[in-house]
């Protein structure tokens, strides 16, 4: 198989896909065929695109990823390390395909696959699926939408609070495969729900994940959203999250990016009504030749909105991290209160971070604070630990870990927090001493 020219690359990925079965729902077929058209018109972005200036995705286009080929599903024992003991529901997708035998739902609310969700809640889903994650100009969202046939559906009914987290686990098992995970969360008025999306791999293979998540919060809804990307170290991961926030809703997200050779995460949050609060935190921990790119946009479209954002990057080896955090305060979005902090730790002289806070303010009665720091470990902190007997490497590891732990500590699921702390500790322990 030859690799298509970059501008035809997306279409070539699509061409390899067997015919998807038509849905009985006309709107669904229309959505998908519209996305197919867009894939035909769009191309893989390059570093000439402002939004991709620091992230060269061209290694992706050197690999002819194929669609997922059936294959056997892992058994639950193979997923043991990914199990969240607190989960009230778990949906497992293996290379993008729903695995009902690995999934369960004890919550009483709708936590199911796209197919069964469409069958039972088609009219609830129709106004939201594919309506928030823009794919007119976003090539990867278009590609994902063109492949729509499986995915996770969560519907939290009006005034229902579910305390146990809902775990959406994406497991990659096939070398050379491209998968298109999809997730839609509809939080109806006054509902409360915690959704954990996790991307993991069973082997250290090359594969491509192109994910789209849409989360809609109706008036007064509260959603905790945790996203953990620990793909294989050779994988490519592109994700688009679109969050729509209704009146007086409350959205809190923590994203952790540990894996993938190249990862790009777009998170777009729109405050569509007054009195919205959101907190968006992120941690990228990369080493060797990895590149982790996070682009966020918080759109204060209405007055009295609050947003808080802390994004941290720990960059080791010759790795790179990119952060672009846009805060848009539209005309009329008075009394917006927004703060953003980008803090970055470079562990070697070859490590690199490009951070760009981007404030666009069109209202005059607002409070917007932002700051970015890039630095190395504080030498006084290192000395303090050494003066208590910690060898230098151990002192540096502990401080590096602590830098990341601030973000991890905000994850509202204890077992996941613990796992990630161990993972970060293990990763920092393997880092080389000061260079």
């Amino acid at each position: 198989m030859t690799v298509a020219a970059p501008n035809r690359y997306l279409a070539s990925l699509l061409a390899g896909q067997p015919q998807l079965p038509a849905s009985p729902l006309a709107w669904f077929n229309d959505l998908r065929s519209h996305a197919v058209d867009r894939v035909g018109a769009l191309s893989v972005p390059t570093t000439r695109d402002e939004e991709w200036r620091f992230t060269d995705i061209s290694p992706l286009t050197g690999i002819p990823f194929h669609p997922v080929r059936g294959g056997s599903k892992p058994d639950i024992a193979q997923l043991a390390e990914f199990i969240l003991t607190e989960a009230g529901a778990r949906l497992v997708f293996v290379d993008g395909e729903y695995a009902p035998l690995l999934s369960f739902n004890n919550t009483g609310i709708t936590v199911t696959s796209l197919a069964s969700g469409l069958a039972s809640h088609g009219t609830v889903i129709e106004p939201h699926l594919g309506r928030h994650a823009e794919f007119q100009s976003n090539a990867f969202a278009a590609l994902n939408t063109a492949f729509l046939h499986d995915g996770a559906i969560v519907i939290a009914p009006r005034n229902v609070a579910v305390s146990a987290p809902l775990h959406v686990l994406h497991v990659a098992t096939q070398k050379g495969a491209a998968s298109y995970p999809r997730c839609l969360v509809i939080a109806e008025p006054g509902s409360v729900v915690t959704v954990v999306e996790e991307f993991v791999a069973l082997q250290n293979d090359v594969y491509f994940t192109d994910a789209v998540t849409e989360i809609v919060l109706a008036d007064g809804a509260r959603v905790h959203h945790v996203r953990v990307q620990r793909e294989s170290g050779q994988a490519f991961h592109v994700s688009n999250c679109a969050i729509s926030l209704g009146r007086a809703s409350h959205y809190q997200s923590v994203s952790v990016a540990l894996g993938a050779r190249i990862s790009r995460c777009n998170l777009n949050v729109v405050q569509t009504a007054e009195g919205v609060e959101c907190a968006i935190d992120g941690l990228a921990l990369v080493a060797e030749q990895q590149l982790a790119d996070t682009h966020t946009c918080i759109d204060h479209a209405q007055p009295h909105g609050v947003s808080r954002q802390l994004h941290k990057c720990i960059v080791d080896g010759a790795a790179r991290a990119v952060f672009n955090g846009k805060i848009l305060v539209r005309q009329g979005a008075q009394r917006t209160d927004s703060s953003q902090s980008s803090r970055n730790l470079l562990l070697t002289s070859k490590a690199r971070v490009d951070t760009k806070p981007q404030l666009e303010i069109f209202a005059d009665d607002v409070k917007c604070a932002h700051g970015a720091t890039v630095g190395q470990l504080d030498s006084d902190e290192v000395f303090y630990l050494m003066s208590r007997g910690f060898p230098e490497a151990a002192a540096r590891n502990l401080l590096t870990y602590a830098f990341g732990a601030e973000v991890i500590s905000r994850i509202p699921v204890a077992s996941l927090r613990h796992k990630l702390e161990q993972r970060v500790l293990a990763q920092t322990n393997s880092q080389s001493v000061s260079k």
Partner: protein
């Protein structure tokens, strides 16, 4: 306490040190034996804090001349962590805040590093919790401080208690307490000093670096040294501290200068 025929623990001879190319220590001499409590006093800028940091191995200070023997071993050859494991403890004037590291974790890791050094068993979190709570009683510390990040948001007094708690856990042979009394109200001072007094014994020694005599009302020194311009210019007993409190430092300085022009 001064013990007859006690062995020498620390021997500093002709020590010179610079920071950013500026010479701060200019021929420091000091001998400390097991069991002794030494107070080093002196005006601001005399080099007291520099001396304590040089002993602990702070990387910002370069030793340009002189020797420091600790238990017969060349201390200057050791990295800061090796000095700590050999039994040197520095109580910081301004303890460092480390957000994200739980105090309990920090204390346990430090304690276990020392246990391993002495070939003893390390304590797991549960065992350590019991152990450290006992030690905290000594300093009238609230156990809540175990769950907080190291020194983060601690008041001045809480930070100093946490320093002495570390001293209690690490059981150093030589504790250098740099301005431990600064920022303490009278109650905290009493508690911190009480903790230090309980930890002092015939198998260790303490160097108190302090600007004021106040601390010495609670911890009785065997020797009081006055520093000026990077070296010790006068040594006396605990009465010297009282005299300094009433008369200030100028007379010592004048006496020293007068002494310098009159050949011995």
């Amino acid at each position: 306490m001064i013990i007859q025929d006690s062995k020498t623990l620390l021997e500093v001879h002709g020590l010179c040190a610079t920071v950013n190319g500026i010479e701060i220590l200019k021929g420091m001499e000091l001998t400390v034996r097991y069991g002794e409590v030494h107070a080093i006093m002196g005006p601001n800028g005399s080099g007291k804090s520099t001396f304590s940091k040089v002993l602990a191995g702070h990387p910002s200070y370069q030793v340009t001349d002189g020797t420091v023997l600790f238990g017969g071993q060349n201390l200057l050859d050791l990295a800061p962590d090796a000095r700590a494991r050999a039994g040197v403890f520095l109580g910081f004037q301004y303890p460092i805040e480390i957000p994200g590291v739980a105090n309990s974790q920090f204390l346990r890791l430090a304690y276990n590093t020392m246990q391993a050094q002495h070939g003893k068993d390390e304590l797991d979190p549960l065992e350590f919790d019991d152990f450290v709570r006992e030690k905290m009683k000594l300093l009238e510390m609230n156990p809540d401080f175990l769950d907080r990040s190291v020194n983060e948001g601690f008041s001045g007094g809480e930070k100093k208690r946490n320093e002495i708690l570390q001293m209690a856990l690490l059981a150093p042979r030589l504790a250098i307490l740099d301005e431990t009394d600064s920022g303490l109200d009278i109650d905290a001072l009493r508690v911190v000093a009480g903790g230090v007094n309980q930890l002092a014994n015939k198998d260790n020694a303490i160097i108190l670096v302090t600007h004021y005599q106040r601390l010495l009302n609670y911890i009785k020194p065997d020797y009081v040294h006055v520093m000026e311009s990077g070296r010790i210019i006068k040594t006396g007993g605990k009465d010297l501290a009282v005299e300094l409190e009433t008369r200030g430092y100028d007379w010592v300085s004048a006496e020293n200068k007068a002494g310098a022009v009159v050949p011995a």
